[in-house]
Symmetry: C2
Subunit: 383 residues, 2 copies
C-alpha cells in the first residue's frame, strides 16, 4: 500500500445558507481546496461525494457528478457515499483506499448537507420503527448513556456541561462556526431540557455546510504543495451490535481507534490535537475514553482538568465541534479533516493547538441496539 | 493488484414484493449468495450496499448495516453507495477494488430497491430543474436519441421493437423475470405511445428486487467453492459532458467498455454473452455499438441478424434484461453480475448461452447534457 497525503482543503462556514441550493453549496469548498492544493481540476483522478439526507430532502441522485462538474471535474470515477454521520469520513476512507492501492494518484472528497429546511428536524434513531415509536429517538438514546455514565462513574451534570462550554470557547475563535458566543455552565444547565440530562445546549444544532479535501499519493504530493499532511491511518468499522447489556461505551468506537493506533504505530500520548463527534456533550466524554485519552469512566473528570481545552495537553474540537459549528451530516466528517489539516500546518490562527504534529479525527454514525452503526478513525501527521 | 473472483450469487425474482419491507427484501439474496459461496457470515470481511431511491422513499440511512446484520454480518466495514442506475455495479467495483488492493480478502455486495409504491414513477431526468420543467424527462431524452439514430443511420421502428421482442423471449426462460409472456413486433409498436418512437413495451418497467454477490481474493476462492468466476476487469467512469452536439452515442459508454477490454486484454470478439443496460430499446442498440459488437450506426441491423439472441454469436440480455425483468435501480447492476456468473458456470438452464466463457456487464446511470453521468463495464470469465 502506498502512502497518501492531504494536499488541499476547503470548507464553507456552517450555518444557514438559504441563498444556495444543495448543489451550489458544495462547489466553493471544492474550488478552495483545489486552489489550496495548487492542482488543476483536470489533474484530479477520482471523486467521492457524501451526503446523507439529500435523497430524502431533495430527491438527489448522482449529485456528486453534478457538483464536481460545476467545479470542472469530469470523466473520472465518481461515487456517492452515505454512512449516516460518518458519510464524509467514509468517502475520505474510500478515496484513501483508492490512492493507497494504486487505482489513482489523486482524488477529491466533498461532503455536503443542506438541512436548514422549515419544519425539518433529525430526530429519529434506532433500527426499527418500534424503537422510534417507543420513544428511543436520538437524544433519548444519548441521554440514556449519559444517565448510565453518571450512575456508574459519578460523572456530574456540570462535567457534561463543561464540554459544551469548552467547545463554544474554541468556536469563538473560528469564523466558520455557526455559534460563536461564549456560554457558561449555568447557561448550558438552564437551557431548555431536551431529554434529561441533555439540555438544548448539550445537543448539536442543525446546519447547512460543505467541506472538501484533496488527496495525493505521497510520492507526488510535493509536485502540488510544499505542505502535505500524511494520512497515517484510515479506519472504517461497523457495529458488532453485541453489547446491548452495556449501554455506556460503544464497542465500535474503541475498536476503530485501537485499529487506527495500530496501523499508525502510535498511541494516545502521541496525539496533539483531536476532532471528535460531539453530537451531544456525553458523546465527547465517551469518545475521550474510546480514544484512550483517559481511562474508562474518567471522561467527565478529564474535561474538568482542562486537558482537552486549547492550551491543554490534547485540545479536543478546537473548531468548536458539532456542538458549536452544527452538524451538516454529510459534511461533518470531511470538515473534521479540514480542521486537522489546518492545525497540523499551523494555520489555525487564534485556535491553533501548540506543537500540533499528530491529529486524530474520530467520527461515528447511527445507533443500533446499543452500538454505533459505523465508526471511523483517521490519523493525520506532519511529515 | 490481486486477482478477484465471484464465489457466490443470489437474487430475488424482480416484480412486486408488497409483503416485504425494503430491508426484508434484501436479506434472502444475501443468504442465498453466502450458501452458494459456502462461506460463513463471519468470514465476510466487508460489505457494500447499493440503493438509489430508498433515501427518498423511506428515509433510509445506513440501511446496508441493518440489512447485513440481519444476514449475520457485522463489525466489518460497510459502505452505502449511490450512483443512479450504476449504483449496484459501483458497489461491486468498490468491493473489487478493496480486495484487489489487499484491504480485505472477501466482501459482499448487495443491491436493493423497492419502488412499486402507489403513485411513484421514476421519470425525472436531466441535471437541472429546467430540463425537467421543459419536458426533458427520461423517456424524452432516450426518444430523442432514438429519433436521431433513425434519421442518421436508417434504423427502423421495427428494429427497435426487435430488442424488446428478443429480450421477452429470453425472459420467458427466466423464472426471476417480472414479465415472461412472449410479445411480437406488432404488440411493441401498438402498445401505448410514451414518447415517440418509444412505446410502453419499449421502456423498462419498475420493480422491487434485490441481488447479492460474494467476492474473494482469487488465491483463496477455492477454499470456498469449486466454481469461482474471475473478474477480468472492473471499470467505473463518469461523463465528460462534452458532446451535447452529438446526441446519439454516449462517449462515456464507449470509454468504459474500451478501458475494460484493455484491462482484460480482450476484445468484443471474445465475448460469449452480455448483459447491458436496456432501459429502453434504443439503449441496447447504442450499447451494442459502444461495446464494439457492431460498427457505429449498425445496432439496428445487428439485432435483426439474430446475433444477440440466444443461439446467436453473442447473446445479449439472456436474463430478459431490464425491459422484461424490470429495473429496481439499486439492484440492477448486481443482478447483471448474478446472471453473468450463472451463465459462465453453465447454470442458466433453458436460457444458457452455449460455450459461455467470457461475459460483459455494461451499465449506465443518469443522463446529463448529452452524456451518461456514470458508466460501468465489468468483464467476467471462467478460469
Amino acid at each position: 500500500m502506498r502512502k497518501v497525503d492531504i494536499i488541499g482543503v476547503g470548507m464553507t462556514g456552517f450555518g444557514k445558507h438559504q441563498d444556495k441550493s444543495f448543489i451550489e453549496l458544495a462547489v466553493p469548498p471544492i474550488l478552495e481546496a483545489l486552489k489550496d492544493a495548487n492542482i488543476k481540476p483536470s489533474q484530479v483522478e477520482a471523486g467521492f461525494c457524501s451526503y446523507a439526507l439529500a435523497g430524502r430532502l431533495f430527491g438527489a441522485v448522482t449529485a456528486g457528478q453534478t457538483i464536481l462538474w460545476h467545479a470542472g471535474i469530469s470523466r473520472v470515477p465518481v461515487v456517492n457515499v452515505e454512512n449516516a454521520c460518518t458519510s464524509g469520513s467514509t468517502a475520505f476512507h474510500l478515496a484513501w483506499m483508492g490512492i493507497a492501492s494504486g487505482q489513482f494518484d489523486t482524488a477529491i472528497v466533498v461532503g455536503v448537507e443542506k438541512m436548514m429546511i422549515p419544519n425539518f428536524g433529525l430526530i429519529s434513531s434506532g433500527d426499527t420503527e418500534i424503537d422510534t415509536l417507543e420513544g428511543l429517538v436520538t437524544p433519548a438514546s444519548f441521554a440514556m448513556r449519559a444517565l448510565c455514565h453518571m450512575e456508574k462513574y459519578g460523572t456530574t451534570a456540570k462535567q457534561l456541561a463543561l464540554v459544551a462550554v469548552k467547545n463554544r470557547r474554541h468556536a469563538s475563535l473560528n469564523q466558520l462556526s455557526q455559534f460563536r458566543d461564549p456560554i457558561t455552565v449555568e447557561e448550558v444547565l438552564n437551557s431548555p431540557m431536551i431529554c434529561d440530562p441533555l439540555t438544548r445546549l448539550s445537543c448539536c444544532p442543525n446546519a447547512d455546510g460543505a467541506a472538501a479535501v484533496v488527496l495525493s499519493a505521497a510520492g507526488r504530493s510535493r509536485r502540488f504543495t510544499a505542505k502535505p499532511v500524511r494520512v497515517a491511518a484510515s479506519v472504517l468499522v461497523t457495529g458488532s451490535y453485541e453489547n446491548p447489556m452495556d449501554l455506556v461505551p460503544w464497542e465500535t468506537d474503541y475498536r476503530a481507534c485501537k485499529k487506527a493506533y495500530e496501523i499508525a504505530g502510535l498511541g494516545p500520548d502521541d496525539l496533539n490535537v483531536v476532532e471528535c463527534h460531539d453530537a451531544f456533550t456525553i458523546s465527547e466524554i465517551l469518545h475521550y475514553e474510546a480514544m484512550l485519552l483517559c481511562p474508562e469512566g474518567e471522561g467527565g473528570r478529564f474535561v474538568e482538568t482542562g486537558a482537552t481545552s486549547l492550551g491543554g495537553s490534547v485540545p479536543v474540537n478546537p473548531s468548536g465541534g458539532l456542538l458549536s459549528k452544527g452538524h451538516p451530516v454529510g459534511a461533518t466528517g470531511v470538515a473534521q479533516l479540514v480542521e486537522g489539516t489546518r492545525q497540523l500546518r499551523g494555520e489555525a490562527g487564534a485556535r491553533q493547538a501548540e506543537g500540533a504534529r499528530v491529529f486524530m479525527a474520530q467520527c461515528m454514525g447511527g445507533d443500533k441496539d446499543g452500538d454505533a452503526r459505523s465508526c471511523t478513525a483517521n490519523i493525520l501527521m506532519n511529515n
